[in-house]
Symmetry: C2
Subunit: 335 residues, 2 copies
């Protein structure tokens, strides 16, 4: 491997000058600069990032902790972070947490150990208290799609309450009154908030959510199937169903298919997220879209600003609204 020392020798200058040519070209004399650049080119020199990071105490890199890679949900957010950072000359490195609190902790620290200048953490499993402590200690870390009251300015997230409300308003606008819902695990604040907003939305139309029409799912297809079966078994009639994510909606649709219940003719179904599955289902799923890329991008930018001490959150948008993507699973039943 060719080092800065070899370049400096070949060019007849000191390593400091070579370093300057790379990081501060304008302070180097034109003649010297060109000579050095020529040598760099000829030798195919590439600065060793590890050495640079150590010496400069900065890695120009933001780390990202996500649950896992085999899911476009995280993939989109990751892409958002990456894209935004690329624009400011920063790199992104991601680590997965396997969706456990221990994994989240480890991935987070591991990224810090690599001297990431900041880290964007998607932490579903760590408790609020611990997160608060960690955020206090790591002033350049930000939370992705999670809201922590004590550190609101360090969170970038979808307004799940708004999303839930939007779902209710939309279904009501289509003439539905008897509406069931399959929530995510209630230990997740996303589920709590979506349900809260949903309840609010119904209330606006003077509808009270019937406890029998609420089933808790697991954010996966299987849970959606089971929850839907449960809802149907209670025999309470409903004309529309709101699911806390698209996968559970897919499960619910599967249950309908099996029981020969036509969607949307007999039951309208509304999903949440708008990840690929939504557009592949038949009929295509109407859903509440999360702007995942944008959310990721904002989180990346926020971490970057914190890391570089930019003029504080200069009006950076950190709370995002969900929006309805109309496809084919919700019909208007207005008489």
């Amino acid at each position: 491997m060719v080092t800065i020392l070899q370049v400096s020798r070949q060019a007849g200058v000191s390593t400091a000058t070579v370093s300057r040519v790379i990081n501060n070209p304008e302070v180097v004399g034109v003649r010297t600069r060109e000579r050095v650049l020529e040598v760099i080119e000829r030798l195919g020199y590439r600065p060793n990032l590890v050495a640079r990071d150590l010496a400069s105490r900065s890695s120009r890199t933001i780390g990202v902790v996500i649950n896992n890679f085999a899911s476009v949900y995280y993939g989109f957010m990751l892409e958002g972070v990456e894209m935004a950072l690329r624009n400011v000359g920063y790199k992104t490195i991601a680590e997965s947490s396997q969706a456990t609190s221990e994994g989240e902790r480890q991935a987070w620290f591991s990224l810090l150990d690599r001297q990431c200048d900041g880290v964007v953490v998607h932490a579903d499993n760590l408790e609020d208290d611990e997160l608060a402590v960690l955020l206090d200690r790591q002033p350049t870390s930000v939370l992705l799609n999670r809201y922590l009251k004590s550190h609101a300015d360090r969170c970038v997230y979808l307004d799940n309450v708004q999303g839930g409300r939007l779902a209710a308003e939309y279904l009501i606008s289509k003439g539905h009154h008897q509406i069931a819902t399959i929530t995510g695990p209630m230990k997740f604040y996303q589920a709590k908030d979506r349900l809260k907003g949903f309840t609010q939305g119904l209330a606006q139309a003077s509808i009270t959510l019937d406890a029998d029409l609420v089933a808790e799912g697991d954010f996966h297809e299987a849970g959606g199937e089971a929850a839907m079966a449960h809802l149907l078994d209670t025999q309470k009639p409903f004309t529309a169903l709101f699911c806390h994510n698209d996968e559970m909606a897919a499960g619910a649709m599967e249950t309908c298919r099996r029981r020969c219940i036509r969607v949307p003719e007999e039951i309208s179904i509304l999903g949440f997220d708008d990840v690929n599955v939504a557009s592949h289902l038949t009929p295509k799923l109407t859903t509440v879209r999360q702007p995942l890329r944008e959310i990721g991008a904002a989180a990346g930018i926020l971490a970057h600003s914190l890391a570089t001490g930019q003029v504080a959150n200069s009006g950076l948008k950190t709370v995002f609204d969900a929006e309805i993507v109309e496809r084919a699973t919700v019909v208007d039943v207005t008489p």
Copy 2:
């Protein structure tokens, strides 16, 4: 940040000893070791990986280059790599190439600059020649899902010829004789090989592939739709269709739906990959499965062995077979 120096002072030993406690505990006296460990614990010391990597000239990390993150296809492979490496105490870091040759080059080098001990590269776009040169220069890099004759032992991939043949054999076993196919872009060897195997499979049953029944797609849904429309427009009859990936199959199914052609009653459709979309389509897609996780894992292990100079490719499996996953889009038409 607490450094090894502070730990050594607190423990009344030299930094060398602290370093040993961490990397070679057995050579340190029991009493000293415990004292040091106690201090480490108390101070919350975490070794700076950047410094360690620089000093040891190894990062215990394997880099991975993939097209993009927002696709489970790469996600699965990445998970495979990560999982396999975790077992041997190695870390994984991924970088995306945006599916351009320049991006692949840059990501690859960037990973090398970070002193990754090895790198697993999914390079669709770089030319064979350049890949050969790069592989020669980087003895610990391996190719993921691409086959390079000159460096066969550095490639971990699906046997696409076998996959194509399997597809033909399967459809034929279901009584189909008139079979159409939508290929990937023919500049990709995957498409070439799948088509080659497919042709072979047909030949085994004395069927020659009618050129009118071959349409080139783009590996995306839109291309599948268009290609299917094209195939139907030529008016040549066929009872089954083999698509080079699931997304194009989804597109083809969409075209059928629009033209009121029933799948699988009128046309059987077989996909390739078995990524999520397959199981969400209606009817569920019968497809040729790639063992993506296993492929990723093998690539990770191979890179790791090369990096650590393990007893060479000790019988590591590097060529994988595809298999049929029967769902609902292919029916038996044997009279």
